[in-house]
């Protein structure tokens, strides 16, 4: 365990000083005067057919070097199904969809040329909502859906249902038919959430030695490489992606978007081309957390046993399938998580609409399914007269319990975490007194999430000055993984100080495959690959030192920059001396390592259309909120917030606490005031900072957090991802606390003051889903 004591520490961020001095060069700080500027012609209707697209006048405009359309990059991309063109081809599917792009010497010239493009669109009646999309006679958003390449097999699809994932375990009909149960049914609806990273999506493309080189603000360099290859119909190896420090991602940059356009224009012009979304474009075409509709029914006995549960979850993917196709998988693990349930069946459907496509956002799908599940749990408690805390303690998943896909959970984690929350509350006290004359509510909720594992690669080069260079495709998006946990891990393995570990920025030409930074996976997946690389380095280092010291390698340890004989501190020799010897004799010391998911089994036949059948690394949270609701204004003040988070092993507790504070505050925005609505013509109405209400300093409270260590994890040194999950149960905790404060059921987020007032005065209609059939099976493609 000595490597652990050398790894766990509150290492400060090495990038903090440059960031504070304004010296860090993000992608959008790298614009040079000799670059061409690209701007996009975007659709101003949400559905239509392109009847005419004449570029000739634009091409004659001053300063213009290229104009491109979908015909120049006709390949389709997507996750699960390739349904997405880079630039619209013939059909317009959402307001803001890019149709053509101009590259010119200046942005002004490019915009002038954009105005000279002749575009005629024959508008079509848009399919604006999931309710419309699911009508039997609905127009198809993708007429040619049958012809799309299916990248991942297994999901059911039909018409406007881009993807359907189902899980089914046990005899649910029998559970609901039991004489000793009561049935509780709840419906919930949630809107979209916009990420608003401070650096918008931006890319700089150049064409070098017959290959594309894209510098971009992304979380997924390999996806950008592969998508660029697809749409340009190039071998992906002809695309190089490098990633400067990223000014915030939160999942928005977990898919390729505008990057391939810069490569295309660079190839056409031979020049370096920059394309940066304006803030308006960024927000109007944000790949938001999707709006969703959830109906959930449970059969519960008088003793509080959940005998059966079924749910239908509709997820709006917008005009293209994107992440939602993948995220249908998550319902089984989020809505199907938290509690021990007898028999269960869940279906989630990604539905096409003529609205801007949605995407991934921190704890995707989990945030609203946890809200729905926890509010439903409180409705069960209300209906059957259970104490919500006792009900949770009795029913949370524990050792040996089955998940929705039949996965067997290991160890009691949520139960002890609920106890820890009570201890935490006892230490902080409660804040009811601060409510004054307002309505006070407190709620404790639980959540289940996971670490998105998947492939990662790492190389470690040991240098003659005793430093080590870590080469991976990891990206620093702000969470600190690349500047804290990874150098800590490598240093701990090699007996170095973390500042001796140089961390290379992602470059797909230098490092192996990685599925990207997201899903809380970097510390786990890249960390594990790094440990494997370090093992090879260690082995070479100890072998060389063993020869030099005439000692068996097994008797040597790495400590404080030295190779020492076990139990004899200060013996042996310095690492640089060994490296120098190796370089002169057997060659430089390098190691490489790889990691892949374990693919934990589900019960056979339980999971259909899932990208992940069972969770390799589940992650649990307990969140508790105290709120005061002003009955005159409907304003909700958060009085206190507490978190107990399952972290496996905290490598850098201070960094994790920073992620918890930040993640909870993003969740507060989602729960209370970050509202995205669509206009009648299919536009996102909130496309600037005036209309989209982000949390401000005065809205927030310091989060009291307790890191729960020791739950089983296949992650290196027992770690789990800690940066994604803090947002998971905020909507749930706030929704439940507000419901208790006002004594009315909360079935929709965000809880803006007008909505809270309507709830208080019973003028808020409960969500109704006429497009969800009464029988569960009728909501599936069979």
């Amino acid at each position: 365990m000595s490597e652990l004591s050398a790894t766990v520490m509150n290492l400060p961020r090495r990038d903090a000083q440059d960031k504070l001095r304004g010296r860090t060069k993000y992608t959008n700080d790298r614009v040079r005067p000799d670059m061409l500027h690209a701007v996009l012609l975007r659709s101003t209707v949400s559905a239509g057919r392109i009847r005419k697209l004449d570029l000739s006048a634009a091409l004659r405009c001053p300063g213009v070097r290229a104009v491109a359309t979908g015909a120049d990059a006709p390949g389709l991309y997507g996750i699960g199904i390739a349904d997405h063109p880079l630039l619209a081809i013939d059909t317009i599917r959402y307001h803001g969809e890019p149709i053509a792009v101009v590259a010119a010497e200046t942005e002004k010239q490019a915009r002038a040329a954009l105005a000279a493009i002749v575009l005629e669109i024959e508008p079509l009646a848009p399919v604006s909502t999931m309710a419309e999309a699911l009508q039997p006679a609905a127009r198809l958003v993708h007429e040619g859906w049958r012809g799309y390449e299916v990248i991942t097999e297994g999901g059911a699809r039909a018409g406007n249902i881009a993807w359907e994932a189902k899980s089914s375990r046990g005899d649910v009909d029998a559970a609901f038919a039991r004489p000793d149960i009561r049935i509780v049914e709840s419906s919930f609806t949630v809107g979209r959430q916009s990420h608003v990273p401070f650096e918008p999506r931006v890319a700089i493309g150049s064409w070098e030695d017959g290959r594309a080189h894209i510098q971009t603000s992304t979380q997924v360099p390999w996806t950008v490489r592969n998508v660029t290859g697809r749409v340009m119909q190039l071998a992906p190896g002809r695309v190089r992606v490098t990633v400067p420090p990223v000014g915030g991602g939160f999942g928005l940059k977990f898919d390729a978007s505008i990057e391939p356009i810069t490569a295309l224009l660079a190839r056409m012009t031979g020049r370096t081309v920059v394309l940066e979304n304006t803030r308006q474009e960024e927000m109007a075409t944000c790949l938001c957390r999707e709006n969703a509709e959830i109906r959930i029914r449970s059969a519960v006995t008088a003793e509080g046993y959940i005998a059966g549960r079924e749910a239908v979850v509709l997820m709006d993917c917008g005009a293209y399938g994107g992440e939602q196709v993948f995220l249908t998988t998550m319902t089984a693990h989020t809505l199907g998580g938290n509690y021990r349930v007898g028999a269960t069946r869940l279906v989630s459907r990604a539905v096409y609409t003529n609205t801007p496509p949605n995407g991934a956002f921190r704890a995707c799908n989990g945030v609203y399914n946890t809200f729905a599940l926890e509010r439903h749990t409180d409705e069960i408690c209300d209906a059957l007269g259970f104490d919500p805390m006792e009900f949770r303690k009795k029913n949370v998943l524990g050792d040996g319990d089955l998940g929705a896909t039949g996965q067997v959970f290991e160890a009691d984690v949520l139960g002890p975490m609920l106890d820890r929350m009570e201890t935490l509350r006892a230490s902080t006290g409660t804040s009811e007194a601060k409510a004054d004359s307002r309505l006070y509510g407190i709620a404790t909720t639980v959540g289940t999430w996971f670490v998105f594992v998947g492939p990662s690669a790492a190389t470690v080069n040991l240098n003659a000055d005793g430093s080590a260079t870590l080469v991976t495709s990891g990206v620093e998006i702000g969470s600190g993984t690349m500047v804290q946990s990874l150098p800590q891990i490598v240093a701990g393995q090699l007996g170095l100080a973390p500042d001796q570990v140089i961390v290379r920025e992602a470059d797909t030409d230098a490092a192996g495959l990685d599925v990207g930074v997201g899903g809380g996976r970097t510390t786990v997946s890249i960390g594990a690959a790094s440990i494997a690389a370090c093992a090879e380095v260690r082995e070479k280092l100890l072998r060389t030192a063993g020869e030099m010291l005439q000692t068996r390698p097994e008797d040597l340890v790495l400590r404080d920059g030295r190779v020492e004989i076990t139990g004899r501190p200060g013996s042996g020799m310095s690492i640089p001396a060994v490296v120098a010897h190796a370089q002169a004799t057997t060659g430089p010391i390098t190691g490489s390592g790889a990691f892949a998911a374990r693919n934990t089994p589900a019960m056979s036949g339980c999971a259909m259309g899932h990208f992940i059948d069972a969770l390799d690394i589940p992650v649990f949270v307990v969140h508790e909120a105290e709120v005061a609701v002003d009955p005159d204004t409907g304003h909700v003040e958060v009085l206190a917030y507490r978190v107990v988070q399952d972290v496996g092993r905290a490598l850098n507790p201070r960094a994790i606490l920073g992620q918890i504070q930040g993640g909870v505050v993003q969740g507060l925005g989602y729960a209370l005031h970050e509202e995205v609505t669509l206009t009648a013509d299919g536009r996102i109405a909130q496309d600037d900072f005036e209309t989209y209400r982000l949390p401000l300093a005065q809205d927030v409270v310091p989060v009291a957090a307790d890191l729960y260590e020791g739950a089983p994890s296949m992650g290196p040194l027992g770690t789990k991802g800690a940066g994604e999950v803090p947002i998971l149960a905020v909507g749930a905790a706030i929704g439940c606390a507000v419901a208790r404060a006002i004594g009315k059921p909360v079935r929709q987020l965000p809880l803006t003051p007008p909505r809270v007032l309507r709830l208080l005065h019973e003028r808020e209609p409960p969500p109704e889903f006429p497009h969800v059939a009464p029988g569960w099976a009728l909501n599936t493609l069979g």
Partner: protein
């Protein structure tokens, strides 16, 4: 039109449209990219600079209005190898940096605030941050850093950053 002003202590002139936002001159012509253009509407504070010692959003400042003024950007606050401004040092010590895009603006806004409000309370610090948005950190550590900075100055019997601005 020609506009002359001081930029980080040096004379500087601009030829062109006087309505051009200062942030564009800084970033596109002077390559002082520490000043961030995030919302361009005065809401986020990421573009904050000092104009004659006042913290202002440079996205809302037409270059014509800085005629004869002294402009200090984040690069000029503690340049070269100079020590960090005490507020920067406290932000670093509080582990208050994540993606970092808001940081230069926060430093420029709040360095003026701590200079002018040596006795500010925590709620006053939060109130002063209405024009500075951070999407990553959830604010509390930034507030901690400002409070620590004021504390240290009070203990040392000095005002914060008087030397720097």
């Amino acid at each position: 039109m020609v506009v002359t002003f001081q930029l980080n202590g040096e004379d500087c002139s601009f030829h062109g449209d006087p309505m051009t936002p200062l942030v564009d001159i800084l970033r596109r012509e002077r390559f002082l990219t520490g000043t961030k253009a995030v919302c361009r509407e005065g809401f986020c504070g990421a573009c904050t600079v000092h104009v004659d010692d006042e913290a202002v959003p440079s996205c809302l400042k037409p270059i014509g209005l800085v005629q004869g003024c002294a402009v200090t950007t984040i690069e000029g606050l503690s340049s070269g190898n100079q020590a960090l401004h005490p507020l920067q040092a406290n932000l670093e010590a509080a582990d208050a940096v994540q993606c970092g895009m808001c940081c230069p603006g926060i430093v420029m806004s709040l360095s003026a605030f701590v200079r002018d409000n040596p006795h500010a309370s925590r709620p006053e610090i939060k109130a002063a941050m209405v024009g500075n948005i951070c999407r990553c950190t959830g604010y509390e550590r930034i507030v901690d850093a400002v409070a620590d900075c004021l504390d240290q100055a009070r203990k040392a019997g000095q005002s914060v950053g008087g030397l720097h601005v």
